[in-house]
Structures are given as structure tokens and as C-alpha cells.
């Protein structure tokens, strides 16, 4: 008989197939599993909406937990989520950035606040259904984050901000599986409520994808119309407010031009949307700050890497180097091939092979304009 108690793990369960199977796999491995759904947003706001904290999703998570025979709780993270994710999201748009709220949620809600509450329940680990892998480098003792086995589902990008301490108590069992296999196992286990659910795509608190409408309901003062201008500052027309636009956007500008025009920059100070032709959306260099390094303790010299400038972007060859003039951890990234629509507010994540080297928040646009961001992911 074992004289040590089983290791306890809190699994964040959303009511989807990935987090359900995370709980199932850990239970099978012999962990003492507790399922938790994070209620992050008032439920039932708009009837019929689909998002991560609707009553239906919670009911599904509860049913799976019951089927697996594990304790299950709904925990209230509403105030915390509003402060660290929703306010950041709206604030970033107003500043002319394009934020990724899922990264903020991972960083502050799931792997900070949920972990804090998990410890209160005596947990040794917290687990999520992300497709990525964590292991320890035996020689150097560092915790390593690597891509998931299923390259098409890899979610390591969304975890680049994890610290060594956090990595040491996170379990990501799905990293070893392909998505199709996960669905198959869910069916075999009789988890029929979740096995064939479609993957969630949208931002959970804006299920209708109308970000501008959402921001304007919370911050009506953000509705500030301004000018479309070109690189030289020539006025090309009027727009309804910079929060309706994102770098690289072509459709929905509300004005027709002789040539196809794209957003190549947003100037919140002057409420200007800078437009250019397709060629001007490309740039060879970007800058990023608020860096987190995983595979290395710090960046000491230029490193060849592959870099991803947004979640769905392909990796591209680049050299990352510390910006000399800077002590705030700002880096410069020089790509071998020009990149389209480098967007301030998004994360750039660096890889060496399958390993995540680290990452940070992009602070420059296709025009090469750099801006310090006071609060970022």
C-alpha cells in the first residue's frame, strides 16, 4: 500500500472535449482529480449565446465530472476576470492595439488566481486542456515548454508567459495526443455530451464577435471618429473611431478607394487610421517588450529563432536580439522574410525547434513605429 497520499490536481473544465479528457486522463493516471469551472462572466446575459460560461457549458462540465466520478465546483472569478482580462481588452483597443484576451486569461486568471484557489483546496497541480508539453531539462534544471504532439492543434503560443515556478506545477496531458484521438477516447469513455462538440473559436465574452460594439457599450466615450490618412499624413477620408480597425484589415473600412487599401497603423493620440497599399503592410523588423524567457534565463546575445507573430501565423525565421538602448527588456526581431501585418498588442513567441524559447508583446507596427505599452500581456 502507498503511504503517500495521491497527488491532487485541479482541472479547469470548460464543458468542452479537451478539458473533459484532461480530467479523464489524469484520473486514469492515478491523480486525485477535482474539476473546476471558472465562472468569469455573468451567465445568461444574452439568451442563446454560446460562450465559455453559459449555463449549458457549466451543466456539461458538471455532467462529465459526475460521469468520471470526480468532485466538481464552479468558482467565481468574475471580478478578477473583469479587471485583468476585460478591462485590459477594452483598454488596449482604445490605445490602438489589438489585444489577445485569452493570453491575459491564461496568465492572470488560470495560472495565477486559479492556482491560488487550487492551493486552498490542497492541490499539488493545476491542469488545463492545452495542446502543449512541459518537461524538465535534467541538465540545467529549467522547466521547458514544448509544442504539442499534434502540430495542427499546438497551443504553446498561448502559454509563452508562464514562469518557471508556474511550469513546475502545471500538467498538460493533452500535449501527448492528437485531437482526433482525444475525441475518439471521449467517445469510448461514453462522454457523449462533449465528444463531438465543435472547437470554440471566438472570444468567450464577445460571442457575436462585435468587439467594437462590446467596447462601446462599456466605454461610450471611446467612440471618437477621425481621419483616414496615408503615410505622408494626407487625409483620405473619415472613419468611425480607431477601435473599429486592426492592422492588416482591408474589408469594412467604410470608404472605397481607387486601389485596394489596408490599415498599416493606428494613431490613438490623433485618432488617425493610417492606410497603405498591400506592399506597405509588410515589414522586416519588429520590436517587443514585457519579455518572458522559458528555455533560457535571459537573452544575452542575438539568437536565431523561428517566431510567430500571432496565434495562427506560421513560424518564420528570425534573429532576436536585446535592444541595446533599452534596460526594460525590449527586444528587436529581424526576420529573414518580410512579415505581413505586424500588430501592436499581439504576442510574438520564439521557438527553437519544438521548444518555446520565450516571447513578449509586440510594440511596433508595419511602419516601424515603436510605442511603449503601459499594461500588456
Amino acid at each position: 500500500m502507498m503511504n503517500r497520499r495521491k497527488k491532487r490536481v485541479i482541472v479547469g473544465m470548460s464543458g468542452g472535449v479537451d478539458s473533459s479528457m484532461t480530467a479523464a486522463l489524469l484520473k486514469e493516471e492515478g491523480y486525485d482529480v477535482i474539476g473546476v469551472t471558472l465562472q468569469v462572466w455573468p451567465s445568461g446575459d444574452a439568451p442563446g449565446q454560446k460562450g465559455c460560461c453559459t449555463i449549458t457549458e457549466i451543466d456539461d462540465a458538471r455532467r462529465v465530472a459526475y460521469q468520471l466520478g470526480i468532485p466538481y465546483y464552479v468558482m467565481n472569478f468574475r471580478t478578477y476576470f473583469e479587471e485583468h482580462v476585460v478591462d485590459y481588452f477594452t483598454g488596449a483597443y482604445v490605445r490602438g492595439e489589438t489585444p489577445n484576451p485569452c493570453l491575459a486569461c491564461n496568465r492572470y486568471v488560470k495560472f495565477t488566481e486559479l492556482w491560488r484557489k487550487a492551493q486552498g483546496l490542497g492541490a499539488d497541480y493545476v491542469a488545463t486542456g492545452h495542446y502543449a508539453r512541459i518537461c524538465q531539462d535534467q541538465e540545467r534544471g529549467r522547466w521547458i515548454l514544448a509544442k504539442g504532439l499534434d502540430a495542427s492543434k499546438d497551443q504553446s503560443y498561448a502559454l509563452y508567459m508562464l514562469t518557471q515556478e508556474q511550469l513546475s506545477h502545471i500538467l498538460l496531458p493533452l500535449g501527448e495526443y492528437r485531437k482526433a484521438r482525444i475525441r475518439e477516447m471521449a467517445r469510448q469513455l461514453g462522454l457523449s455530451v462533449v465528444a463531438d462538440k465543435p472547437d470554440s473559436q471566438e472570444i468567450c465574452f464577445v460571442p457575436d464577435r462585435d468587439y467594437a460594439g462590446f467596447i462601446l457599450r462599456r466605454k461610450p466615450e471611446a467612440a471618437r471618429p477621425g481621419n483616414f490618412v496615408d503615410r505622408q499624413g494626407t487625409v483620405l477620408g473619415r472613419h468611425q473611431g480607431i477601435l473599429h480597425y486592426t492592422v492588416g484589415q482591408r474589408k469594412g473600412l467604410g470608404v472605397t478607394f481607387a486601389k485596394p487599401m489596408f490599415v498599416i497603423g493606428l494613431d490613438a493620440e490623433h485618432d488617425e487610421v493610417i492606410l497603405g497599399e498591400n506592399d506597405q503592410t509588410y515589414t522586416q523588423t519588429l520590436w517587443a517588450m514585457d519579455m518572458n524567457w522559458i528555455a533560457i534565463p535571459a537573452l544575452t546575445g542575438p539568437l536565431p529563432v523561428t517566431a510567430k507573430i500571432r496565434y495562427r501565423a506560421a513560424e518564420a525565421e528570425a534573429v532576436v536580439s536585446a535592444e541595446m538602448s533599452d534596460s526594460a527588456g525590449c527586444v528587436q526581431v529581424d526576420f529573414s522574410q518580410r512579415q505581413r501585418a505586424v500588430t501592436p498588442g499581439q504576442a510574438v513567441v520564439f521557438y527553437q525547434g519544438n521548444r518555446v524559447l520565450g516571447g513578449g508583446t509586440i510594440i511596433s507596427d508595419p511602419l516601424g513605429r515603436k510605442k511603449r505599452i503601459p499594461f500588456s500581456v
Partner: protein, 395 residues
């Protein structure tokens, strides 16, 4: 694992005598009380016997009892029914800040639809002031609704005094007595109560059954129309097994009321004292002594979240509650504690134990064995508690 149920204000197990009384009414005596044949007649007899049992527990006449699907429906019938029937007399309504949502939300709906509403505040112990009530009364006031005992903090309101005041002014007086039924003596005549809500599943009866007492002479517009059952106040075929069970539960509650209240009060004080003795930085919410329900313990354990406490207690088999659970099961700070003037963060750390028949002194000890450890573990992680401890050792 041992399991200890201390959430009787949420619901209670059905007593075996109650189940036994109900059983024949599922498949033997299944008649519809409205039918003329022998099946109908035996059902009708049972219906009226149960009505008598419910009436007896609160000192009412049987014909003053209307069966409903539960406390919520009875509250709704009293409030909407009286508001609609007396709208020509006036449109002013009075209630308190600590009512159950079945009452508060009904009034808030009326307020949005042409009525005026005064919500009385409560003091730090959760009790309203008669002087405040008197000030709020107006010539066009048609209804006052004040709960007998609060479901969260157990505070008992001065019902007889309020009733006297209402009677003097000719204003109808509704009392939500869901939590006090079977725990405190209720006498609708002496207390001058005109409308009173009761529920089955809080007194070891089945879920899905409740009743509204309405004094003879009080007009209530119906909320459900149809076959005209329950004197046209509540149409729909009667839930006879539930009604029979509720009647039996009322009979049992009446028989054991005094002795059980005394027993529960002892357990309550043992638990309350034990918590205060073993855990620092604890605040008792609600009054102490006779102003409090005999089975209610509500404490705010500072520097700990109520949610974490509840979950940790559940993991050692102890069922308690905190705040009011919303549909999804996650928790908001209680409107009752906020109305009593508790700061948000202290309201968040509240914990309610509500005792019942099967609880014993051993079970109270079980809770007292586990709760201090859980609190200590959770406090270790609280930066706020760290600061407080350092301050107190520095002194």
C-alpha cells in the same frame, strides 16, 4: 468518508412518516379531488385533512389555506395577487432589504410597472426598526411584507408589533415564514398576519409543495387560471401526494416544535461558541440568543473566501452554505449581509450552518475538528492575514 449535512435552510430530508403518509396517494388513492366518484371523494377528504393540518400549525382556519407549488409561488401569489386586487386603494408597497428573492424580485417587478416601493433597511443584526416602518406608512400603502426569520442570518423580526401597526392602519400584512415554520411558534391571529407563506421541503416534507395563508376577507387576484381549484386562487389539479406529505410534516413539526427548538438551540450555541473559541478573527452575523432562529449559525471568517471554505468543507464531507447560490452554483456576496452593513470582503467570507433533526453533538464536534484546520490552511495563503498577524505580534 463521514458526511455531515448542515444545510437545512436549503432543504431537508423527507421524514419517513411523511413518505409513508404520501405513498398511498400515488397508486392507490390516485383520484382527482374534483371528481364526483369514490376515487375523487377519498382524494378530496385527504386534501381537506392536509389543509387542516397546515392551518393548525399556524393557528389559521383551514379555508384560509391555498396550496401552491412552494414558497416562491406563495410569495408571488400574495404580492401580485394583493397588489392587483387593491390597486384602486393605492399603489404603495413596503418590504425589507433582507427578504428572499421571491419577495424582493416580485416587488421590484411591480415597481417597474407602476407601483411605488419602500425597502426598509435593517440594523447591524438584521432587524428592521418599527419607527422606520411607521415613517414609511402612507395613506396609499396597500401591503407590507416582512419575513418572519431570515434564511441567511436567522434574525427574527417583531412580527406581532408590525402586525398591530398594519392592522391599526388598515394595511394588509404579508409574512414569508418559510424559515420559521416548525422552528418558531406562529399564530396568525395573535400576530395580526393577513398573508403568510409556508413551504413543505424546509420542514421534512416533500419539495414542490407550499401554501399561502390568506385571512378571510383578503382579496387576491388569481395568478393561474383554469379549473378553479383552491377557491379559484390557484387553478390546476392539486398535487395530492405532496399536499398529504406537507400536512403530515406540519403535524410532526407541531408535535415536536418546542423540544426540537430547544435541542437545536443547544447545538447551535455549541457550534457558535466552538468556532469563536478555536478560530481568531471571526464575526458572528445576526443576533445572538432568542432573536435568532434556533438552528442558524452564520459567521464571517475574515481573510478567507467563503467559496474556498465551502469547497474545502465539502471535501471532508461537510455540507454548509455561503451567500446565496446562483443558478450556476457560483457565489455572490449576500444581499442580506451587505444590507446589514458588512463590507464586501467580509460578506464574501461568510459561512452558514443550518442544523436539523439528524444533527448531533458528535457532528458538531466533527465540524469543529475540521473547520479550524481548513481556515488555517487558507489563511496561510492570504497576504492580508499575514500582515494582520505581524501587526498583532508586534504589539
Amino acid at each position: 468518508m463521514q458526511r455531515v449535512y448542515m444545510d437545512h435552510s436549503a432543504t431537508t430530508p423527507v421524514a419517513s412518516e411523511v413518505i409513508e403518509a404520501m405513498l398511498p396517494y400515488f397508486s392507490e388513492k390516485y383520484g382527482n379531488p374534483s371528481s364526483v366518484h369514490s376515487f375523487g371523494r377519498e382524494a378530496k377528504v385527504a386534501l381537506e385533512e392536509a389543509r387542516g393540518q397546515v392551518a393548525a400549525l399556524i393557528g389559521a382556519n383551514p379555508e384560509e389555506i391555498t396550496f401552491t407549488s412552494g414558497g416562491t409561488e406563495a410569495d408571488n401569489l400574495a404580492i401580485f395577487g394583493a397588489a392587483a386586487a387593491y390597486t384602486k386603494k393605492g399603489r404603495h408597497l413596503i418590504t425589507t432589504a433582507i427578504e428572499h428573492h421571491a419577495v424582493l424580485e416580485s416587488f421590484e417587478y411591480l415597481e417597474k410597472n407602476g407601483y411605488e416601493l419602500t425597502i426598509l433597511p435593517v440594523d447591524a443584526e438584521g432587524i428592521i426598526s418599527l419607527a422606520e416602518l411607521e415613517k414609511a406608512l402612507r395613506p396609499d400603502t396597500i401591503l407590507i411584507s416582512v419575513m418572519h426569520a431570515n434564511n441567511e442570518v436567522g434574525s427574527i423580526q417583531p412580527i406581532a408589533e408590525i402586525g398591530a401597526l398594519a392592522k391599526e392602519r388598515g394595511i394588509w400584512f404579508h409574512v414569508d415564514a418559510v424559515q420559521s415554520l416548525g422552528k418558531l411558534p406562529i399564530a396568525v391571529q395573535e400576530m395580526h398576519v393577513d398573508l403568510l407563506t409556508v413551504s413543505g421541503h424546509k420542514i421534512y416534507g416533500p419539495k414542490g409543495i407550499g401554501a399561502l395563508y390568506a385571512r378571510k376577507g383578503v382579496r387576491l387576484d388569481a395568478r393561474a387560471f383554469g379549473g378553479g381549484q383552491e377557491k379559484k386562487r390557484r387553478s390546476g389539479t392539486e398535487n395530492l401526494p405532496g399536499i398529504v406529505g406537507f400536512g403530515k410534516a406540519c403535524e410532526l413539526a407541531g408535535a415536536h416544535l418546542a423540544a426540537e427548538a430547544q435541542r437545536l438551540q443547544k447545538l447551535r450555541d455549541q457550534l457558535l461558541q466552538g468556532i469563536i473559541d478555536r478560530i481568531p478573527y471571526v464575526k458572528i452575523n445576526g443576533p445572538v440568543g432568542d432573536q435568532r432562529l434556533p438552528n442558524n449559525v452564520n459567521v464571517s471568517i475574515q481573510y478567507v473566501e467563503g467559496e474556498s471554505l465551502l469547497l474545502s468543507l465539502d471535501m471532508v464531507g461537510i455540507a454548509a452554505s455561503s451567500g446565496s447560490a446562483c443558478t450556476s452554483g457560483s457565489l455572490d456576496p449576500s444581499h442580506v449581509l451587505l444590507a446589514m452593513g458588512l463590507p464586501h470582503e467580509i460578506a464574501h467570507g461568510s459561512l452558514r450552518f443550518s442544523l436539523g433533526t439528524q444533527n448531533s453533538a458528535e457532528e458538531v464536534d466533527y465540524v469543529l475538528d475540521h473547520l479550524p484546520q481548513i481556515v488555517e490552511r487558507l489563511r496561510v495563503m492570504s497576504p492580508l492575514y499575514d500582515a494582520v498577524k505581524q501587526q498583532s505580534t508586534a504589539k
